[in-house]
């Protein structure tokens, strides 16, 4: 990947009280690149993503999108967030609005686009993920996987330049994970810049251009997926990958 740098994180530090969650994070994401962030739970992956669209304000360091600084209290934060789509682990659709209104709310109210044009785009996107029939349904009538696909579309309808995914399949039943991941793979193929936090190792390997392994608040490894999964450089990464491998350890008592 040698596109221009789109997202740059430098010297990022975040503390919650006494605890330092992120301790000097440096990396950048190029245009069209898909970066997967891996690491044991509690290592700061989600916090990193939340800092990247200003939901948390860092204690030190900075994040730039196309050269513009992102800061939680900043004047232009709402402007910048329109360029960064984010999808969360919990299905966070607005329960009082139907699917199409969920998707078009922000384009109409925030970007001041016409309702008609936003709806056309929403319907086109819904068709692409096979949920067009559900456009008048309410979130409670959808399955977890369907809700999560709608959440992705809601973010896409803002025409973002970067998409952040925070463990979007973690709360889903296993048979619904696939449909959500397929949408993300399609998106990656279209050249969307993406930063993904996930625990789905096979998916990570399939989609990533680069893997960042985070542990104890710092980047321990930053490498190509094939390299990371077959031949990790550090012991910590090895140990982490080991937890996903199952061996037949049952012994017969007789």
């Amino acid at each position: 990947m040698n596109g221009e740098i789109q997202l740059q994180v430098s010297g990022l530090v975040k503390r919650f009280g006494e605890e330092t969650v992120l301790n000097g994070i440096d990396f950048c994401v190029r245009k069209g690149e898909v970066v997967v962030v891996l690491g044991p739970s509690g290592c700061g992956k989600s916090t990193l993503l939340r800092c990247m669209n200003g939901l948390e304000s860092p204690d030190a360091g900075s994040i730039f999108l196309d050269g513009e600084a992102i800061s939680a209290g900043g004047k232009n934060i709402a402007q910048l967030r329109q360029k960064i789509g984010m999808v969360f682990q919990s299905y966070d659709l607005f329960p009082n609005k139907n699917i199409i209104d969920n998707i078009t709310l922000a384009p109409v109210k925030v970007q001041k686009r016409s309702k008609k044009e936003a709806e056309e785009q929403a319907e086109k996107l819904l068709k692409r993920v096979g949920l067009w029939e559900k456009r008048k349904a309410y979130p409670r009538e959808l399955s977890g996987g369907q809700k999560q696909r709608v959440a992705i579309i809601r973010a896409l309808c803002m025409n973002p330049e970067v998409m952040l995914f925070d463990e979007v399949t973690a709360a889903l039943d296993p048979e619904m994970v696939r449909e959500v991941l397929d949408v993300m793979i399609e998106l990656a193929n279209q050249g969307m810049t993406m930063v993904i936090v996930t625990h789905e190792m096979q998916f990570a390997r399939a989609i990533a251009d680069r893997v960042i392994f985070l542990d104890g608040g710092s980047i321990v490894e930053d490498s190509k997926p094939d390299e990371f999964f077959t031949n990790p450089k550090t012991k910590r990464a090895k140990d982490f990958l080991q937890t996903f491998a199952y061996e037949k350890r049952r012994t017969n008592i007789n």
């Binding site: 960064i84 969360f88 966070d92 109210k109 925030v110 809601r154």
Partner: protein, 224 residues
């Protein structure tokens, strides 16, 4: 003529007087409700602030209003304030003030409850879509709290309508007082009038509160 207490209702202007009494009841409670709802919404938002001073102030206010019987508040407003500050408040104004103070406190607590029941990730996802604080409140949070608030607000309104019967004690003639006057005036001629008059008052209260409940039901359905 022992058995025709109902006649009392149609003698002279009795029925009209009852309706006038009902109007006093409704006027006080509806004015109070109309003022309390917006103030209560603001007070509820104020209560969700993390600031310790605002928390203490709102806590004290809420507990004071809750612990004090409404009757005591009415006496303080009508007799106490007049004596102490030389302000000559009419009974109706004092009643409205007390009911607004009460309604704002209760409504505020309902709004606070509704606001904190909205999950944090609703705020997060609105923010992630580029909405500012005002847009988040207006388009995402308030519509969701509304639905939760309607039944509670209606309950509060009907409670207020019923509690206005206390204003008799600061000298106002509302529907219950009128009924009592009519019954007293006919005690010897029509001993059974009491049942009829109170029965009619019961119906009048019902007619005042029932449409409000119906409206609530309709709104709840529409905003589902």
């Amino acid at each position: 003529m022992q058995d025709s207490g109902i006649k009392v209702l149609f003698m002279g202007k009795n029925f009209l007087r009852l309706l006038e009494g009902l109007w006093v009841t409704l006027r006080i409670s509806l004015i109070a409700v109309i003022i309390s709802i917006p103030l209560g919404i603001l007070f509820g938002m104020f209560m969700t602030l993390k600031n310790p001073i605002s928390r203490a102030v709102s806590r004290v206010y809420l507990e004071f209003i809750r612990i004090m019987p409404q009757l005591v508040l009415l006496f303080i407003a009508y007799f106490g304030v007049t004596r102490t500050f030389g302000l000559n408040l009419s009974a109706e104004v004092s009643a409205v003030i007390v009911f607004v103070l009460w309604g704002t406190a209760e409504m505020g607590d309902l709004v606070r409850g509704a606001l904190i029941s909205i999950p944090k990730h609703q705020y997060d996802s609105a923010a992630a879509l580029g909405m500012n604080r005002i847009q988040t409140f207006w388009y995402v949070v308030i519509p969701q709290t509304m639905r939760r608030l309607i039944p509670l607000t209606i309950n509060l309104t009907t409670r207020m309508i019923k509690t206005t019967s206390l204003v008799v004690l600061i000298g106002m003639t509302e529907v219950l007082k009128v009924g009592k006057q009519i019954i007293d005036a006919n005690r010897f001629e029509y001993p059974t009038a009491a049942l009829w008059i109170y029965g009619v008052i019961f119906l009048l209260y019902f007619l005042a509160c029932w449409p409000i409940s119906m409206l609530a039901k309709k709104l709840e359905k529409r905003w589902r």
